[in-house]
């Protein structure tokens, strides 16, 4: 099953996909174009992985890490499907990152590898934008690069774990204005999903709606105002985002 959180008719609804349309919990059937898409869950703690695909690490001239490079994200940065991400006027290099999002379903502590998948509620797509101009070398990647308002589109759906037989073999693609700019497969992750759950739960307790953004393969290209960026993962979802500029914001 695929579920979404949407705004429709002045209220927030949970909805499920049905024959290409959305069925709200109250039974109403609505078209996908008639709702505002929110993030498919309200994320609790969000972990993101840096350099978790060998080809992306090489692209950025880094040796592949020997332990997961994890950073955290705050609630300010998340937006839903079909939303708008701000590119500051002074940025010279802003790139998308198509990532498989793993949503935790229950409390997890010191999980064994063979049990790891039983803690997963479902999967979604995230676009973990980075603005490389703001990179500094303290707690890198720093929040100024990775936790900016509107810079992490997330959605459209939460796809139930039971509907994803092998999350470690999914095709990822990014299209900018219809042109293919990034492609890869989750099979190329350095630390796979069970390893990440084992790693994180070895030193902290994970809870329902914690999210792990599992990193991105190579193919980083600068994006500019007006670009429509589509990050898609086979069987999980197609997440559409549009880049807007400072001129849309009156207070700065």
């Amino acid at each position: 099953m695929r579920t979404a959180r949407v705004s429709y008719g002045g209220a927030i609804h949970e909805a499920t996909e049905r024959e290409g349309r959305l069925q709200l919990r109250d039974g109403r059937m609505v078209d996908n174009e008639d709702v505002i898409w929110l993030t498919p869950i309200v994320p609790r703690t969000v972990f993101a992985l840096g350099l978790n695909y060998a080809d992306h690490a090489a692209e950025l001239s880094f040796a592949a890490p020997t332990e997961p490079l994890v950073f955290l994200k705050g609630p300010n940065t998340f937006i839903g499907h079909q939303a708008f991400t701000r590119r500051p006027d002074d940025a010279t290099y802003m790139h998308y990152e198509c990532e498989l999002a793993v949503v935790i379903g229950k409390t997890a502590r010191q999980v064994k590898k063979e049990d790891a998948y039983s803690y997963v509620k479902g999967y979604s797509v995230a676009n973990d934008y980075a603005i490389r101009d703001y990179l500094e070398n303290y707690y890198r990647p720093n929040l100024c690069v990775k936790n900016r308002d509107t810079c992490t589109p997330f959605g459209p759906w939460l796809v139930d774990a039971e509907d994803v037989p092998n999350p470690m073999e999914l095709k990822l693609t990014t299209h900018v204005n219809g042109k293919l700019v990034q492609q890869g497969t989750t099979a190329d992750m350095i630390f796979d999903i069970p390893s990440l759950i084992v790693y994180l739960s070895s030193f902290m307790t994970l809870s329902e709606n914690d999210v792990i953004l599992t990193g991105t393969p190579k193919g980083s290209v600068n994006t500019v105002v007006g670009d429509v960026v589509v990050t898609e993962i086979e069987g999980i979802g197609r997440l559409v985002n549009t880049i807007i500029g400072d001129d849309a914001f009156s207070n700065r």
Binding site: T45, V70, L72, N76, Y134, N137, Y139, L143
Partner: protein, 263 residues
Amino acid sequence: MSFAKIKRPGSNELQFVRVNAETNSLEVEDKELNTKYIQLDNPISGTIYGTLLNFKGALESLGDSVYDKPYMSPPVSPVLYIKPANTFNRYGGGIPMPTGESTLEMGAALGIVMAKTAVAVTEETAMDHVAGFTIVNDVTIPHESLFRPAVQHKSRDGFCPAGPWIIDRDAVNNPDDLTVRVFINNQLKQENSTKNLIRSVSRLLADVTQFMTLFPGDVLLAGVPEEAPLAEVGDKVRIEISGIGSLENTIVDELTFLRRERT
């Protein structure tokens, strides 16, 4: 007496009380009761963001290494990190010593608690968005390198005691002139002042909200002074911030902590 908000265990809402920051007591039915005798929960409902290297002495302690690999230059924008929800701990709660570790840094921090949504605020209007202040112990496993995010060192369960309350903004005359003291087993181990912040409280709020919205209930830590005292299992740790109160916790071994968590 000053106005403050506390959170009682089992309650979802903050409760208004009158407190005495000097004696760390609060008014209950016209009597002053010390926090020792009351169960208080962590009063934070939002996200806690920490600020690295915001004390002059903390940056100075890196010396010329800030110009070398891997840092290459001193920090330009605020260096932030998140203390996630699993780290939240209460006044009086045990702080777990992870298996394999023998000491923990006691990171004494002024917590700036937001009242209103703050987006791109100016230094002049920053304080209008603040509800008040609390005391936070940013517990950290000692580590040398500041190059990569210290998630393993800072995000363990119970590593972020906060409290005993959120004291009203108006109770604090000048957040940039507060004495911060850390006592371990009643011995003074550290004394510093928010006079030594690189970015003042208002400046920090202005710079952070340029790229990150702070929501009501979110907390921004002003920074941890250099040479954070180290504590061991069994140590009683008290962080005092003048005009706010004191936060007291004990270091326990991890198994004791887990057992308490489950009961």
